[in-house]
Amino acid sequence: MYIPDNNKSEDKLKNLLSNSRLEMPFTDFEDKVMANIKKEVQKEKEIDRSLRLSWLFFALGTTFGLLLSIILSPGTTILGIPVDKLAIPAYITGGTLLLLFVEKLLQLTIEQKKDHI
């Protein structure tokens, strides 16, 4: 059967290059990779845990703040200042801090979820 020279030379080259596969010379390669992977997985679990705790304390703090604002009656004072005079600055400061914190927490949560998709 006639085999064109081109095919013959391609086959020869393929035959030669079948010897070009190298063996991983480091016998502990698999264990090293698995050890690094397990470290990464552990780190991810700790980040997840921290995020969940952050949300929990955020919820607790917000609830506590709201309750406090309801409980403090109009007649009471804090350091001699009537509560109703403190209300607006307190709400503005608290509200701003709350929004900034929520934004950061949401960003982190979305980033974590993206990594897990």
Binding site: K12, R21, M24, F29
Partner: protein, 185 residues
Amino acid sequence: MDEVYIKRVIKGDIEAFRYIIREYQHMAFTVAMSVVKDEFIAEDIAQEAFIKAFENIKKFRFQSKFSTWLYRIVVNLSFKQLKKLKLREGDFISSGTESTETAPDGFDKMNETDRKYYINEALRLLSPNESLALRLFYLDENSLEEVGNITGWSASNVKVILHRARKNFYAALHKVLKNEMKTIL
């Protein structure tokens, strides 16, 4: 078989990833060596590639071969590392006007160990692109399209590199054996 283990890893079975490492470590190392020409650097690259593959395994959609996807990671990391090594074109062999595309006389009669040694020494003399192209096309038996997918080269670029690589490979093989003869004599 790959699909079974990949799905197990995605479901959270970390140990199932060992199968992937065992199956692909040698070729991943070979691909990295084609580019960086150093065993220790190639090992680091292969390690980093497997870790990246594990971290991103949920993004693998089974639309291509897993090897294509993995070797793409290895190639990207290898060329990134290559920039730091600052190897120059002149460091690699060029056949110039020589057009011999045959193995040296008596090469076929050598024992397998020696043949393997000289072939890999010859590949070491080739530029990263050329030795990579030869191994991906002839050793791993990827199609031109698959080589393009792994390397990011266009189809025409793959053909040009392979054409040059064939010539330079034979030139390198002749050179390696000539040097060996000089050493012996």
